[in-house]
Every structure is written in structure tokens, then in C-alpha cells.
Symmetry: D2
Subunit: 88 residues, 4 copies
Amino acid sequence: MKKDIKKSAKRRLSIAGGQIRGIEEMVDQEKYCVDIITQIEAVREALAGVGSLILRNHLETHVAHDIRHGHEKRATEEILKVYRLAQK
Amino acid sequence: MKKDIKKSAKRRLSIAGGQIRGIEEMVDQEKYCVDIITQIEAVREALAGVGSLILRNHLETHVAHDIRHGHEKRATEEILKVYRLAQK
Amino acid sequence: MKKDIKKSAKRRLSIAGGQIRGIEEMVDQEKYCVDIITQIEAVREALAGVGSLILRNHLETHVAHDIRHGHEKRATEEILKVYRLAQK
Amino acid sequence: MKKDIKKSAKRRLSIAGGQIRGIEEMVDQEKYCVDIITQIEAVREALAGVGSLILRNHLETHVAHDIRHGHEKRATEEILKVYRLAQK
């Protein structure tokens, strides 16, 4: 994994983990539902950003390697898999 | 907040927090990108479920109350707000 | 259905229909894939906007009526249904 | 564009166009909002399928070609672009 991507992904995941603990607290203190949902969607978007980052790493390393070594089929199917997950 | 919803939301958020720590570890150990992305999407979906749960609480408590007390406008705008966040 | 919402929804759907015909043409002329996908996502977002508009109508008419007449349960389940569809 | 993908994409787009005309009619006849929204989400999902199909074509043709000819950077950025659109 590229060093800068790894570092950034870990930092963002750590922040997302903190946000989830914050949401747990909001639920515990029975904060306003709409505010809780807004925070949940913020974490979901932050995680989408991490997914995009990891995909960048995948494309820049494995995919290029796969295609140069004749594993196009595998590379294609894997990208389509993560694309479909993102569409949901 | 309804007791059963609160309990379920806290439990699910705690699990999601654990999953995020697991993903941090996967990144740390440089696991296969596609597996990491798949896990990220699983947490995003789990969080969507919590959002849906909190919305249920909101609808069953605040919204009904708001509408009965003439605050239809506010109730409507808030539901549309969370709906649009979900569409993203 | 509220008159202004109906008018706006019909106009937007008509535009979306035109966009889809445009995409069919792009496919026919074998335009660049990334441009085709970008157009598809634009229509998907436009349709999300129509969904949001119809939900506004639903909330402002049926839901308020349902709740005032003791059909809270039905109103809640229906909103949760469309919310979950939006999350996908 | 691959022949089978082109054919399938055109057919699916034509069906989606028909569905949108159906939704216009539902709005015109003021059908139940929840049913209209459900139909809108069905078309959105159908269009997501077409996007996935076009991406498959893109990966199997342009991307492999780009990477073999040293245009990795461009290939990567384009895939990330459509991935981010799908995440929204």
C-alpha cells in the first residue's frame, strides 16, 4: 500500500471511529433525532471517502499490475464489484 | 427516545465502532484493497440501518406530536432533510 | 396532489425522459464511456429530486391527514419504506 | 463499444424511458405518492445497472488499453470519478 494513502486512511478511520463514539453518546443522552441522523450520514460520507482512497491505491498498484500481466478479467470484475457496492 | 430503539441503536453503533477498528487493522496489515472496501461498505450499510432506526423513533414520537400541534411545516422539512441526506 | 408540485414533477420527468433519449443516442454513437456514465448519474440525481418532490407532497397531504386520523402506524411505515429505498 | 453491451444498454435505456413515461402518467393521474416514489427508485436502480454495464465496457476496452500504453494516471482518475458519482 502506498505510504501516504495508508497514513491518510488510518487517520480518517480513526476520526470516523471517534465520530461513532460521539453518536453513541448522542443516543445515550437522547439528543434530537434529526441531529443524530445528520451525524450518521456525515460518518457514512467520511467512510465513502476512505473507500475512494483505498480504491485509488488499488487502481494505482494491483490493477495496473494485473492488466500488464494478463489478469484483465480479474481486475475488471473486482472494480465492478466495488462499483456496485458504491451504487447501493 | 423509545427504550428498545435506544438499546438497539447503541448496540449497533458499538458493533460499527468495532468494525471500524477492524478496518484500521486491515489497513495497518495492508490487506487486499477489495476486501477493505467491502468491509467499509458493510459498515456504511450498518450505519444506514441505524439511521433508519432513529428515523423510526423520530416519526413515532416527534413527528406525530408536531403534526398534532400544528408544526406540520417543521416536521415536513426535517423529514425531507434526512431523506435528501439518504439519497446522496 | 398539490398543483405546483404536480406541474414541477411532470416537467422534470419530461426532461429526464429527454435525457434518457440523449443517452440512448450517445450509446448508439459509441460516445466515450465516462461521458455516458456521467450523464446516467445526472439523470439518476434528477430523478432523486423528483422523488424528493413527491415525498414533500406526501408529507404535506397524506401524512398529516393520516396522523390526525390515528393512522400514525401506516404513515410511519410508508415514510420508512421510501427512506430505505433512498438509502440504497 | 462491445456489441453485446451496446445492445443490452440500448434495450435497458429504452425500457427506462418507458418507465419514466409511466411515472409521468402516474403523476398525471395523481396515483398514490408512495407508489410513484417506489417506481422512481426502480428506474434509478435500472439506470445504475446501465452505468455498471457501460463501466464494464470501459474497463474491458479503454482502461486495459490505457494502462498498456502508459496512461495509467488517466485511467485511474476516470475510474475514481465514476466511482465517486456512484457513491452519491
